[in-house]
């Protein structure tokens, strides 16, 4: 089964916490109030896909761990 690699670009993140609210336990804010994944490599999870698609600054990337291709956010 494929796995997803979740990353947040901390320079783009504005700390809106939309991802933290959408996918509890999957994202957390650091001391600078910038988001990051709780676990970087995960089983595919629709809530994480929702969070990535809802980010107001498109700071979240989801990549297929096997192929390195971006995961479709739709």
């Amino acid at each position: 089964m494929t796995r997803w690699v979740v990353a947040v670009d901390k320079n783009t993140c504005i700390g809106s916490a939309v991802c933290v609210g959408t996918a509890p336990g999957r994202f957390e804010l650091d001391e600078r109030q910038r988001s990051g994944p709780v676990t970087a490599e995960i089983d595919p999870d629709e809530v994480v896909r929702d969070a990535a698609a809802s980010c107001p600054v498109e700071a979240i990337s989801l990549v297929d761990a096997d192929t390195g291709e971006p995961v479709d956010l739709d």
Partner: protein
């Protein structure tokens, strides 16, 4: 603190606010008795507020459930994205999130700058004094959101009347508010039919496709979403522009800094968002779905929790010397757009409109100033945002 202690009284509109805010500084989460006698937990610490807003255990849907909503905005919120919890909220928000990302909004900058330019041309052609709201701060966001949604410009004035009512005083004018909302829903129903017959390159057409081709939202959800985007997109922005102008006029040295170096404007917009208290009345409530620990206290399940955005934006642990207005400070961590799933969908668009508005005004309207003493300015009663009736201004020769 234990729940047995008697709660502090939340002040009425008349105050005393300075004393109350001094108490809140020592109590980032505090149990209070509201003016109507109900009990609520106030969250005013900056870190505690962001944490609360990002936590699904503080439910908006429960707070606006039938029988609970008291203000017009909360009654409207009950049917809208603003009153939903995940996963229903996520389904609707995903449909519109991509239209409001920083990247998509940035592409609108030239058009927004051009609308600003046209409005300033119109303003400068008016006899003095002129009403800044009618000439500039209201038509700017209304025109932007109408173009985005695909709403004909000739209908703009009608919406403003409806939106004004929907944000108004629910206890006083509930019949008028219900009538206005019904009229607005009716209008959107007809607009949706018109767009079905004649699709265009706009957001309403895209949402209709999401309904008709992919069945991702109901007809009612589609109608309410259109109304929400329209209402959310203008009264707040217009009054943020108004109150920002008033604040800047009170700080001429800060205006001089911005005129000397317009590259400071984006940072100044964040400071204006941090400093201006835009919210009026009781803020959008949450209700705990279970016992939750926050800021050193435990809030029991089923309690009302209120976010105090303006106070969190003056939390000294987040902003040094927080009561000082300083356009060169780093203020972007303010909570004026909220946080978590209800973080303002239009935040990036509001930022861009504010930036272009002040870039244009500072460059092209020299000597802009109030035409009446600020004590004579009147706010509309009962509004969910601090909303001025009129803002008469004068200016010098360009």
């Amino acid at each position: 603190m234990t729940v047995d202690e008697s709660p502090i009284k939340y002040p009425s509109a008349a105050g005393p606010w300075p004393e109350f805010r001094a108490v809140l500084r020592d109590h980032p989460v505090l149990r209070a008795e509201m003016p109507d006698g109900s009990i609520a937990w106030l969250v005013s610490g900056h870190a505690e507020l962001r944490q609360m807003l990002a936590d699904q255990r503080f439910s908006r849907a429960r707070a606006v459930a039938p029988g609970r909503a008291r203000q017009g905005t909360e009654v409207f919120a009950a049917g809208s994205i603003n009153g939903l919890d995940p996963p229903e909220h996520t389904r609707i928000r995903r449909l519109v999130a991509s239209a409001f990302t920083a990247r998509r909004v940035e592409a609108m900058r030239p058009r927004v700058a051009s609308i600003v330019g046209e409005l300033i041309d119109g303003l400068l052609g008016q006899p003095q004094p002129a009403d800044f709201i009618a000439c500039f701060s209201l038509p700017l966001p209304v025109q932007v959101i109408c173009e985005m949604l695909g709403i004909p410009a000739e209908d703009m004035e009608q919406f403003h009347a409806w939106s004004d009512k929907a944000l108004g005083d629910w206890r006083q004018d509930s019949d008028e508010i219900i009538t206005s909302l019904a009229d607005m829903y009716g209008y959107f129903g007809r607009l949706i039919e018109a767009k079905r017959a004649q699709p265009a390159d706009d957001l309403m057409t895209a949402l209709i496709a999401a309904r008709d081709e992919a069945d991702r939202l109901s007809e009612e959800e589609l109608t309410i979403l259109g109304c929400t985007l329209l209402i959310g997109g203008h009264e707040t922005t217009a009054n943020q522009i108004n109150l920002s102008l008033l604040l800047l006029l009170d700080h001429p040295a800060e205006i001089d800094k911005l005129r000397a170096d317009p590259a400071l404007i984006p940072g100044a917009v964040e400071e204006l968002l941090r400093y201006v208290r835009i919210g009026g009345g009781i803020p959008p409530a949450r209700i705990t779905t279970e016992d939750v620990a926050l800021g050193g206290v435990t809030i029991p399940a089923g309690e009302v929790v209120l976010p105090l955005f303006g106070t969190a934006n003056r939390d000294p642990s987040a902003f040094s010397d927080p009561d000082r207005f300083d356009v060169s400070r780093v203020a972007a961590n303010h909570l004026s757009f909220g946080a978590g799933v209800h973080h303002c969908l239009g935040a990036q668009l509001a930022r861009l409109e504010l930036q272009e508005a002040f870039r244009g005004l500072l460059a092209r309207v020299p000597g802009i100033g109030l035409a009446v003493p600020s004590a004579e300015l009147e706010f509309k009663p009962g509004m969910a945002v601090h909303s001025l009736r009129e803002l008469p201004i004068r200016w010098g020769e360009p």
